[in-house]
Amino acid sequence: MTEQIDKALAREYEAGFVSDVESETFLPGLDEDVIRRISAMKDEPEWMLEWRLNAFRIWSEMEEPTWAHVHYPEIDFQSISYYSAPKSMKDKPKSLDEVDPELLRTYEKLGIPLIEQQMLAGIAVDAVFDSVSVVTTFREKLSEAGVIFCPISEAIQRYPDLVKKYLGSVVPTKDNYYAALNCAVFTDGSFVFIPKNTRCPMELSTYFRINEQNTGQFERTLIIAEEGSHVSYLEGCTAPQRDENQLHAAVVELVAMDNAEIKYSTVQNWYPGDENGKGGIYNFVTKRGICHTNAKISWTQVETGSSVTWKYPSCILKGDNSIGEFYSVALTRGRQQADTGTKMIHLGKNTRSTIISKGISAGKSNNSYRGLVRMNPGAQGARNFTQCDSLLIGDQCGAHTFPYVESRNPSAIVEHEATTSKVSDEQMFLCQQRGLDPEKAVSMIVNGFCKEVFKELPMEFAVEAGKLLEISLEGSVG
């Protein structure tokens, strides 16, 4: 039975192709000169370069963290190339017509047509290919509403005051090893600004693609939602199937001003490596948001890819009555390792947080939930509810839960529930007795297990997430 289930899960990695694009790629290696060259490639102002160099000095003195429940050979940071961009992007194409068709084809193959007429209405896309943003769609329509949605490299040029004010304000440079590295070498990502009392008229999304060999991708995203505004942002990612490991070290910062709401969803499908653990992306990500008074930040993530995932999207609930949410599905199989969870830092009064984590482990994989709930002395009447469920498939995988609670306010309430279950033979038999093949049976059972998280995803992403787990949501009652 386990064998059947493993087979069912061992789907092909459909995004594993390589695009034939001529790129300009830095030689591997990292020193101050490389950082100067990245900065020069992006025509950055002096202050940005200084910021990067400072980060590089901080990073150089830091140690790689080892507390996560993951194992991988030491990363040689000198063997990675820190910049790669399609040559065709050098002339900064002004419109889609000027973009290399091969690049457009890449995204089309990934199911993300960038031609606006063909796109899903209501979603604007920033497409990041290795170290550069290729296209950002629907920008005009968005700017009519006063919304800024552009590559961060462009924001540095055009909105330096906003960038200076907020970059590093939520995740300080010295926050952690990978964040510091990202500050030094980040290349592209998205910048979002939603003005006061504005509801962003479309879903915003960024699609990250690693294509070039031996390069790292260092994505940097900054989202600012001014007072009373609202935005829903989606992020997707894929990479070719390669035998070597590649590094993706991202930093995402969210700022939700008073009464603002940010919904941030991720479907992470980086190449996971093969069944024996060869190849795959190391996904070391720092994501954090700050909530001011009455603000709300909701993180939803579906993590199915990467050979190693190290990721804790977090909320600093600074303002009174602010709300933080974390909904997560992490599926590991083969030899994948995931150490993921969240931190909810309650500073303000009556702040509330909800954590729903669903870990699915199959094959010889390892899946850990690591979460911190901290109630600071000022968090009068704050509440947290945490639910961690693990689903085991087979008996060679591991599931672990590391919940940390620090409560320094006696009026704060922290609740934690945890369950571990298996896909049982009885469930499989029931499904098959009703005519379903084992593949469909597994995906349906797994889908059911994830339901509470999937329902938090925007419609289009729920479908993509479902497909990722080979789940058809067809026929479900709304």
Binding site: F429, Q432, Q433, R434, K440
Partner: protein, 261 residues
Amino acid sequence: MSNTKSLLTIKNLHASVEEKNIIKGLSLDIKPGEVHAIMGPNGAGKSTMGYVLSGRDGYSVESGSVTLDGEDLLEMETEERARAGLFLAFQYPVEIPGVSNLEFLKASVDAQRLARGEEAITSANFLKEAKAACKQVNLPIAFLKRGVNEGFSGGEKKRNELMQMLLLKPKLCILDETDSGLDIDAMQVVAAGVNSQRTEDRSFIVVTHYQRLLDYIKPDFVHVLSDGKIVKSGDASLAQELEAQGYAWLQSEPTEDELEG
């Protein structure tokens, strides 16, 4: 014996689970449209028979043969047997949390129709049918949205099994103690559900301990299964005898000859 072709033919079946022989020479012949009741003491192998026929993992056939509609059933995968029209209503239905009943049923019906080369049913039509089935087994419509058997009471689970049968429209329905643990009203619902599905070409194997169910579902034959084989067969009146006398008197009796006689 009539000349119509058999729907199910079991010949001298021997089967085991965990290296333990449970089915020890079971033979049974069922014609289209017939209802056969199977009674017998606990541990006789009634549930095992259902599992072996439906091809559950871990249940292995040592010898004998089974055909459904002339096809070798034992050659087929579990899901192929289901698609060929075999349905098992479980004695202990399992929960599938988070998967809605409707989603589960639609997927099942879709898979079966696809395998039979039939056109897919539209979601709207299916919903209509599902609501009707719900009503027929006396479950609130809201049960379609709930997780499969998730938090259902014992009786609700049994009625849910019946609802699945109504929607899947199998050729051969095996009901494994679907009436156990039900009050008289719920039992009548089960009986009515079965009776409503009786057609010329649909057959039933009804496993039960209680003659009262058989008062409502009038079986064509009643068999007693004991220690892995059928030790006595008769018409509906056999059930009454069993109700009055229990099974003990059968266990010492000669069997095969009597059955043929």
